[in-house]
Amino acid sequence: MSESISKITSNKPVFVDNDPQEELFTLNLGPTHPATHGVFQNVLQVDGERIVSGVSTIGYIHRAFEKISEHRAYYQITTLTDRLNYCSSPINNMGWHMTVEKLLDIELPKRVQYMRVIIMELSRIADHIICNGILGVDTGTFAGFIPMMVKREFIYEIFEEICGARLTTNIGRIGGFERDFNETAFSKIKQFVKEFPAVLKEFEALLERNRIFIERTAGVAAVDPETALNYSWSGPILRATGVDYDVRANEPYSSYEEFDFEVPVGTNGDVYDRFLVRNSEMWQSLRMIEQALAKIEKEPKGIFHADVPDFYLPPKEQVYNNMEALIYHFKIVMGEIDAPKKELYHCVEGANGELGFYLISDGGRSPYRLHFRRPSFINYQMYAPMSSGMLLSDAIINMSSLNVIAGELDA
């Protein structure tokens, strides 16, 4: 362990300390600190500006999701997944729906899969906007952040159009969507695809070749691929080290194999590379949304869920007027569906990395065991060891570029 940490720290500049402190100072970074962007604590031993060691304390918003899941029907767990990475709830929702669909052996119509791709890529963009925008703020510029946040607001408007909610979306159902995208939703998605590139370009122009930004970020917290893999990193921060692991490309789900996209990778694994990787991923997401829109055009209209009456709620008019629909409605709402006794692991590429669902079903109404593989939780554990030897200001932007979301950290 010590070997790999010395490897991490060897990438940083060595300071000649002319004024060694008599004793170390204990600094509490968190639990509620503006720089943590969430509720978690780091108790740091600092020598002046330099961090000597640190201990991460997490669990401040632990809500026992795994325990609650063992008592809830499958469809009720979607609302729990909302609150994992709440910057990109739809990806969590879709990941959970797909896990249950895999368990129940439901094949979705192509149009629904493309609709899901649109939603997931939009939320990936929303998440990366937050991360990269905040990274700009933490390094000292608000200018790029504001126009980007306007676009995130627009993405939330699209979500609102589709499902009625903005942040904790609970979007989609097991077997498809709760309703079709309406005309406004489609036109707003098209408007976003048309208008976002200019904003993103401006944002990139503001930061990518900006000397202050580069000096603050390049070479900071550089991680080599071996260390990153040893710490089970995933997502953009792993790809910034040069490992081209992306669940969408390696194990495609929801028809990602039909899409033409690239997996951007970095070379140094430093904060600057993570920024570049996230920016390029936004471009790739835009490409995928465009392709998905074109693919939806070719599919028959009006299909927004699979034909699985056992698991997908019938329309309300039928519930009131039709005996079978009423029975299905009752059974689904009470969670009395026949799930096979199986065990499965399904993962999706969340905005922060591999978001996995390890589900054991004993045939009952709730999972026997459900475990969330939360990328933030696993990515964040390197933070304290990698901070030792770092300047406090570097540690702040390092945290910001890891994009640790407290909800996903604690589950």
Binding site: M1, A64, K67, N230, Y345, G356, I360, Y368, Q381, A411
Partner: protein, 167 residues
């Protein structure tokens, strides 16, 4: 490169561990194997370092509580061979109220928090772990909440009893 088949993974493991492995299940193509706590480190190390298997990526460590089985706890490892694009699941069943298993932190630094989480919720001791403390729950908690005997909420509460819902 041809995808590594589950049969060839088992064949390689069995040639190293004298034919001890049989697939527990293979649902959805994900090979699940069972081994004992004496062997687990050797098995993980073999899977990680073998030149052809290359299960170098530790996806997850967690546990499951089966109160009805003689060996109540199962520690579950998910490994991923990024080179071959294959996943594997290893289960180790443990007995007793205070089960113990060697730590995987000697192989992966990333196992540190995964094992702390598993300890926190199931009370499984990872022998040799550098810092085995609770991670999400408060330090002075006395129970291991993901064990099945631990109720979700106040057990005296009557309005959520299953029999009111015909279950």
């Amino acid at each position: 490169m041809a995808k590594l088949s589950n049969e060839s993974i088992i064949a390689r493991l069995n040639s190293r561990f004298e034919g001890r492995f049989n697939p527990l299940e293979e649902s959805y193509g994900l090979l699940t194997l069972e081994t004992g706590k004496e062997d687990i480190l050797d098995v993980l190390e073999f899977l990680k370092t073998n030149g052809e298997l290359q299960f170098g990526y530790l996806t997850d460590i967690t546990a499951v509580h089966y109160p009805h089985l003689p060996k109540e706890f199962a520690v579950v490892y998910h490994l991923h061979s990024l080179v071959n694009g294959v996943r594997i699941r290893i289960k180790v069943f443990l007995e007793g109220s205070y089960p113990a298993i060697p730590t995987a932190t000697v192989l992966w630094n990333g196992a540190n928090w995964m094992e702390r989480e598993t300890y926190d919720f199931f009370g499984i001791q990872f022998v040799g772990h550098p810092d085995l403390r609770r991670i999400l729950n408060v330090d002075d908690m006395e129970v291991f909440p993901m064990r099945k005997e631990y109720p979700l909420e106040d057990p005296n509460r009557m309005d959520k009893k299953d029999y009111f819902f015909g279950r």
